[in-house]
């Protein structure tokens, strides 16, 4: 398994911490998900969120702060610096939002912020599209992990551009990649893992489910199933039906 800035995760699931019915449900969902990483948003809970932070720390998983809600490189850089101080980690999930409605990444702002943060020693997880050129530029800037989107944040659409994602995976076989955003169902997560991605990151799919704890478990199983299937070298796809028992020698009555 590819590692993330030298860290090997026990489980290929990263889970967000927003929008749960209560911190108690959040903690139960994390336990069931067996997620190895918790993402936290700094934008709104900045400052006096100590009680909530200590709940997150009690989860006992690695924290990946994000710059959710930032609409410019400058904002994202400031938020990342605050996050480093608050969480004592160089990890930062870099989000620079380009459009309020679709929440799609602003590729130009993203590259600008990634360049600044990598130079400052941050270990950047850029939330990006499946665009290969942008991916190459982010790697040039010093990113060692990529986080291509599955679909717009919170949409639950799954892997919107499977062809593009497959091309990206093939173009950079050695780069650890996390499918981030847009997953709605465990089958989407299994799909991403089967395609060779190293982890998935989700939040709404679990937090907004009627039973977040059960859905967390479903995602844990799906991620595991997808990873197992990938390692088992899936059969190829064929256009024709191929019988699994030989026809020759079968009795014709």
């Amino acid at each position: 398994m590819r590692d993330f800035y030298g860290v090997t995760l026990p489980n290929a699931l990263m889970l967000g911490t927003a929008q749960y019915p209560s911190p108690a449900v959040l903690a139960d969902a994390f336990r069931e998900s067996r997620a190895g990483v918790a993402t936290v948003s700094l934008r709104r809970e900045a400052g006096q969120g100590q009680a909530f932070w200590s709940l997150i720390r009690d989860l006992g998983v690695r924290v990946l702060p994000n710059t959710a809600g930032c609409h410019s490189a400058r904002e994202a850089v400031t938020t990342a610096r605050m996050a480093r101080e608050l969480f004592q980690t160089d990890w930062i999930k870099l989000e620079v939002i380009g459009h309020t409605d679709t929440l799609q990444p602003d590729p130009f702002g993203l590259l600008e912020a990634a360049t600044v943060l990598c130079a400052e020693g941050f270990q950047v997880f850029p939330y990006t599209t499946e665009d290969q050129v942008l991916a190459a530029r982010l790697l040039d800037a010093g990113c060692r992990v990529l986080m291509p989107w599955g679909a717009p944040i919170g949409s639950g659409l799954g892997l919107n551009n499977r062809h593009g994602l497959r091309m990206l995976r093939a173009a950079f076989p050695d780069v650890p990649m996390v499918i981030d955003a847009g997953l709605g169902l465990p089958s989407h997560a299994a799909d991403a893992m089967e395609m060779g991605f190293d982890a998935v990151l989700l939040n709404s799919a679990v937090a907004q489910a009627g039973d977040p704890v059960a859905m967390a478990r479903a995602f844990a199983l799906a991620v595991q199933a997808g990873a197992l299937a990938r390692d088992a070298d899936p059969m190829g796809v064929r256009d024709m039906g191929v019988p699994s028992t030989p026809l020759i020698g079968k009795a014709w009555l």
Partner: protein
């Protein structure tokens, strides 16, 4: 000497006093700030008694115990039993069906049939829900207690220094372990062109809104829910979100005047369920989260049951 001392004159403390007085116990009420006002989070509430709508995200106990709130409040203050209207914008229609799947006791409706003054939209009607005006309710509770010789005394007090049974209902000031503040922000608009007779909830994946009508053309818009214990003034972003949502619901809200912007912290435990934490002779009534008016009656009943008969209701936690 008083039979029981209550510290904290917010909705939890005052309702506990009311329930005890109904049972023939005369409590003494102390609060370092005196009668309720902008210093307490009860002041900033919406006043929705909506156990079914809240049940979409809250634990089932909130729906179950909250159902008695409207009846309990009717004994002291006017309660408007006109239900709740839930609507969504056209592009968020999926939110409406999800809400319908998860909430109990409602029926599909055309908003025009219930609130003809709003632009018509498909919606959900929750006929058993109700609302009240929180500040009026606090004033009415105070008057009810005063009429029975129970004033709110302005005094700083520590439960340890007071003999006899104590109810500590000081909210976040009581620093109970596991208690956190959850920031909420609200606005009051004066929009006399618009007539609403019941709370309206606008479902939205990012910026849900509720609007509670109050007397004299006033509307309470609420409320953000942020995991932060900051008491800094309302952010511009929250105002934008609340007002944009209201504008989307009915553009005439944009013509209203902003009378008030407020923010405070809701005391909450990790499960967002209120508790009576029993520590010797001190009962801590706390953690009402966003359900102050909905859950204060049940919390007060269970505290009183414990004090008088040692009955351990489901909100009782013996330390």
């Amino acid at each position: 000497m008083a039979d029981v001392t209550i510290i904290g004159a917010g909705v939890a403390g005052l309702f506990a006093a009311h329930v005890l007085a109904l049972r023939g116990i005369t409590p003494r009420i102390l609060d370092r700030n005196g009668p309720p006002g902008p210093h307490g989070c009860s002041w900033w509430a919406g006043g929705m008694l909506a156990p079914q709508c809240e049940g979409v995200t809250a634990e089932p106990v909130i729906t179950r115990l909250g159902q008695d709130a409207a009846r309990a409040w009717s004994a002291v203050t006017p309660v408007t039993p006109r239900g709740t209207l839930v609507v969504a914008l056209d592009r968020d229609r999926a939110e409406l069906s999800r809400f319908a799947r998860r909430a109990g006791d409602h029926q599909p409706c055309d908003s025009a049939a219930l609130e003809p003054d709003l632009p018509p939209r498909p919606g959900l009607f929750f006929p058993t829900e109700a609302h009240l005006d929180p500040r009026r309710a606090l004033a009415d509770l105070l008057a009810w207690l005063a009429a029975r010789g129970i004033p709110v005394e302005r005094a700083e007090a520590d439960p340890q220094d007071i003999p006899g049974p104590v109810i500590d209902a000081r909210g976040l000031s009581s620093a109970l372990p596991g208690l956190r503040g959850v920031r909420g922000e609200m606005a009051v608009l004066h929009a006399p062109e618009i007539t609403l007779t019941r709370p309206v909830r606008l479902l939205h994946p990012r910026h849900p809104l509720y609007i509670v009508p109050r007397a004299d053309g006033l509307f309470m818009l609420g409320a953000t829910q942020i995991e932060s214990a900051s008491r800094a003034p309302v952010t511009a972003r929250s105002v934008l979100e609340l007002l944009s949502a209201a504008y989307a619901l009915d553009p005439r809200f944009a013509e209203g005047s902003v009378i008030e912007l407020g923010t405070d912290l809701r005391p909450a435990f990790a499960d967002n369920i209120p508790r009576v934490t029993v520590r010797g002779r001190v009962l801590h009534l706390n953690g009402l989260f966003r359900h102050g008016y909905l859950m204060a009656p049940a919390l007060a009943q269970q505290a009183a049951d414990y004090l008088t008969d040692r009955i351990k209701g489901e909100l009782i936690h013996e330390d």
